[in-house]
Subunit: 256 residues, 2 copies
């Protein structure tokens, strides 16, 4: 058996080792802008990604994903969380690891094996930061625009992969909740899904998600203390029922 390096005699320092294990974080947010036409109207929503402009070699001046090197005393998740915190001041948001990028030569500084996370952040959490550093070297870009840009390193690929991943997860998990307030209307949920997955279309969305036995339990109506339905009219004249996600999960299957 020639195979098991871990099982062979181990001589520290004998091998070439990586020059660093960075994490890169694809920070998504959905911005809402009101239509000017009417006051009460569904806002325009757009999926955006946070990029920073590099100040030094390599890729000086180019836009890149935020990130940084892992320390020996933390794991990759802690590293990404720390970088996210340092970059946006945001904590306690949904962040998930999705892939490793280890193509030889991907970083001119040396052998860097990068770990990519995506984070979903509500616009309001980014608000202060954006005010602080506006017109600085940190900016939100619409994803479609970012995809066209020549990003540093292989960050274009990472962004593309991340986008595919959250599109998939938007439909198969409840990450939609990360872009929504605790209590939301059916339209808001529908809009969020469509913002991330433009192809998504369900004509009878409200019925499928509320009145169907198999889906009952994914979300539930919110009531006030008196047990009366709680509604919102932030987007319409006619008040809309508010819902919240439950904690129930659901196993999807091709075969059932």
């Amino acid at each position: 058996m020639t195979t098991n390096d871990q099982g062979s005699n181990y001589t520290p320092g004998r091998y070439r080792t990586p020059d660093g294990a960075p994490s890169d974080i694809v920070i998504f947010t959905i911005t809402s802008t009101e239509k000017k036409t009417a006051k009460k109207a569904l806002p325009l929503r757009e999926l955006q990604v946070l990029l920073i402009q590099r100040k030094s070699w390599p890729f000086e001046g180019q836009w890149a994903l935020p990130g940084g090197f892992c320390k020996e005393t933390e794991d990759m998740y802690a590293c990404a969380k720390r970088e996210l915190q340092e970059e946006t001041g945001v904590t306690n948001v949904h962040m998930a690891y999705f892939n490793v990028y280890s193509q030889p030569g991907r970083d001119p500084r040396g052998w860097m094996i990068s770990h990519a996370f995506f984070a979903l952040v509500q616009e309001k959490w980014l608000a202060e930061r954006r005010a602080d550093t506006d017109a600085e070297d940190v900016r939100l870009f619409p994803v479609e625009e970012a995809l066209q840009m020549a990003l540093a390193f292989d960050h274009g690929v990472i962004l593309r992969d991340a986008l595919q991943k959250i599109r998939e997860q938007m439909l198969t998990t409840v990450i939609a909740k990360e872009f929504l307030p605790e209590e939301f209307t059916i339209s808001e949920l529908y809009q969020v899904i469509q913002t991330v997955v433009p192809d998504f279309e369900e004509r009878n969305f409200i019925r499928k998600i509320t009145s169907t036995q198999s889906r009952k339990g994914l979300i539930e109506e919110v009531t006030d203390r008196g047990g009366q339905p709680k509604v919102s009219n932030r987007y319409s004249q006619r008040a809309a029922q508010l819902y919240r996600f439950t904690n129930l999960t659901q196993q999807l299957s091709l075969y059932s």
Copy 2:
């Protein structure tokens, strides 16, 4: 902005760097053993995982996942593929990356950030190798048994995660095909799914997968050159229709 290490002045050799980037591979296979009672009967199938016994420090004598260190000239996927090839002689099988393990202190040899893959291999591909090294330091273990063992490093956790991952993917993707011949019967498919996901039960499985409009296209009947249905009686007196997977995919969704 204190955050972007990649954007700050870069001084090579200034930081502590990892001591290695290994890959670990969870190699799954499904073994079939015939029931002794009758010749033509559905075989007993069992999900097994390949482990190796370590010959040296650390964790000498303990069982571990196969794997090895990444070289500077290859990416992690190539590394895992090479290790799999060296370990089992197997090539061209389904292998997928699923997580990184970077807990500080997980490897007494130093700062090792490990990348975990799972591979799905048909028993027949392992047959030669097993004959070669039988009663040696490479063995298949039933997963339930392996989960009870004290594996080296954090390999117990990795195995648990891998198992959860393939259970999920067994139901949401067509990885079942990796455990099946090109042409298979409905019972075989059903058995494979149940072997990986013991809770899976569909009473009307055959109809759901063949006669349902929404699922039409996942598998298709095999016919011979004359257009006649191709059947197999390897498990039963009554011959069963053979099917194959098509290339059609299907987007699962909680919301539709």
